[in-house]
């Protein structure tokens, strides 16, 4: 099924056009990597802040609110550039189990970011209200660091498996 879809997609005019321009993939990958740079730096700054090992002086609530537009803009750019790369080489992505793990990790990260943002928006001191909340904050922070690294790792290994 997926194999047939990949075959069909790779023969469409748009895919053939992208494939025949040998500058297209490196260019889109460059945009993709710069969007990852913005996203991952933002996620790591928030992650370290949640863990409590950051020298950042800005309150978590302000940090989360300020980061929101950058996070969702970067994720949108990543989605569009990712789709363009997939249209160009469907089998390289869609038939690859590392790609599927990457997509799963992206969904988990996006969901976790959304939860942290909504909780913090409704209740500015949500993550510091009790020892249990502070433990939860540390766990979420560690999760951000690990999942972020996992996404980049999976992204690079798509090319090798």
């Amino acid at each position: 099924m997926i194999q047939q879809f990949c075959d069909w997609l790779s023969r469409t005019d748009i895919s053939v056009a992208f494939q025949s321009a040998n500058w297209f993939v490196p260019l889109v990958q460059t945009v993709h990597i710069i969007a990852i740079a913005i996203l991952l730096t933002t996620v790591y700054v928030i992650g370290f802040r949640l863990i409590g090992i950051s020298r950042s002086v800005q309150p978590l609530a302000r940090l989360a609110a300020r980061s929101a537009p950058w996070i969702w803009t970067a994720l949108s750019v990543l989605l569009v550039s990712g789709i363009l790369l997939t249209v160009t080489e469907p089998a390289r992505e869609l038939l690859n189990w590392v790609f599927r793990i990457k997509m799963l990790l992206v969904l988990i990260l996006a969901g976790a970011l959304w939860i942290v943002q909504t909780r913090t928006r409704r209740d500015l001191t949500y993550w510091s209200e009790s020892p249990a909340r502070r433990r939860a904050a540390r766990a979420v922070g560690v999760g951000f660091i690990i999942i972020g690294a996992g996404i980049v790792t999976a992204g690079r290994w798509i090319a090798y498996v």
Binding site: P26, I33, I34, A37, I38, L40, Q58, W70, A159, Y160
Partner: protein, 164 residues
Amino acid sequence: MSMAVEQALTWLQDLKFPTAIRESDWLFPTIETVHVLALVLVVGSIMTVDLRLLGIAQRERPFSEIAAEMLPWTWTAFLVAAAAGLMLFSSKALVYYANVPFRLKMCCLLLAGINMAMFHWLGTRHIEAWDRAQPPRRAKLAGGTSLLLWTAIVATGRWIGFTT
């Protein structure tokens, strides 16, 4: 390529570890993953500062506060990216040395370093005057130059992978 350079690069890539990277199936992609992970943090932290210099992001925060927040990320990640990059280079030193995108990347890296040093020595004078406001034109110029150079570093870095 001069004889001396060729000998030095041959000596480097024939060392034990570079040879192991070249002959292994997983060492190169693993080191490359560390390189990319560190690189995105370098680029992300530098661009955060650049965007503030250009007056695009975080205008209401003092520049010095953002710079102090980002600097440890930039330097830690840069050391990791440079160490991993040197390992990748050493595995195929002769190939990379002759590769045009690699040379362009190193030039951009050098220019980015010079730009950063010049801004640090000249651009941050009288910073109290604009720390909480729009930066002066020379600071904006440094931010814009940095943004362009780091974009070029990512682009040429990606280009290396398509030409080696």
